[in-house]
Amino acid sequence: MRAIVHVSLKPGVLDPQGRAVADALGRLGFDTVREARVGKTIELDLADGLSAEAAEAQVKAMCEKLLANPVIERFRVEIA
């Protein structure tokens, strides 16, 4: 079973990296970009035999403990 964790900065937290990306896209002529936010994806290969619900609960606990910093980040878990 695989889990995909998407971690991104919370709305309202300044993302200077995203701003630089948006600026660069604008310089390349992509003038439709109003804002860019940069996050990260973490792919987890999980042991077989877990139910999807149990896997999701475990991965959420992983996010709260290590994978994301709840002060500045939010996360979304996909079980595949």
């Binding site: 200077p16 910093n69 002060v71 500045i72």
Partner: protein, 219 residues
């Protein structure tokens, strides 16, 4: 005062920290490898040094929360021990829950490395020897020093006199010019500037020595 410096893989200010602590206390600190999992008996002060612990993987300071020494550091702080957390050490201190908030990428996106004027923002065991000196200069060198916390947390830190240092000329976008904050009991200080690089000698100035002298006279 008996002190210990935690050495993580990727720490690179641990020896500077040791020199500063030995100069101030007359006693070499114990160097504690992160895998040791415990602190030596009778340690009064734990210093979390600067550097790039665990290669800054995931987030600066994040992996330290899962390190074998993390529980021992939390327990030390929990029983009222002193902790001085500098630069990457400050990032570690927020990640392992010793201090509120987080350190974001500098607003400029640039790594900043320069002498940085600071205002001493409160009286504490870390600043007792500043003797009314309100402006000091410590070196800074960081890429993720942009202090962030929600407005309620910032209000509480300010209201409780827990902002230890503020930047004069904000170098990184930190909320309310915050350069260093303390725990509720005033015994844990996290700061981005490097007092251990300002203890006299050929560079860095000597303002940092006052911070170490303050600490030594506290215990």
């Amino acid at each position: 005062m008996k002190s210990a410096v935690i050495v993580f893989p990727g720490s690179n200010c641990d020896r500077d920290a040791a020199v500063a602590l030995e100069r101030a206390s007359g006693r070499a600190p114990e160097m504690v490898w992160h895998k040791d999992g415990r602190l030596p008996d009778g340690v009064d002060l734990v210093m979390l040094p600067g550097g790039f612990s665990y290669g800054d993987y995931l987030r600066c300071g994040a992996m330290a929360g899962a390190s074998p020494i993390a529980d021992a550091i939390r327990a030390h702080a929990g029983r009222g021990g002193y902790v001085l957390a500098v630069c990457n050490g400050f990032q570690v201190a927020t990640e392992i829950g010793l201090l509120p908030g987080a350190l974001l990428r500098n607003a400029s996106l640039n790594f900043v490395c320069r002498p940085q004027p600071l205002r001493v923002a409160s009286n504490s065991v870390f600043t007792a020897r500043f003797g009314g000196v309100r402006e000091v200069s410590f070196p800074i060198a960081h890429h993720e020093g942009n202090y962030f916390a929600d407005p309620e947390t910032l209000d509480r830190l300010e209201g409780e006199g827990r902002v230890a240092f503020r930047y004069l000329g904000n170098p990184n976008g930190s909320a309310r010019d915050i350069a260093g904050i303390m725990s509720e009991n005033g015994r844990v200080l996290g700061m981005m500037p490097h007092p251990e690089r300002a203890i006299g000698g050929q560079e860095g100035g000597e303002d940092g020595q006052l911070l170490f002298d303050s600490l030594m006279s506290a215990a």
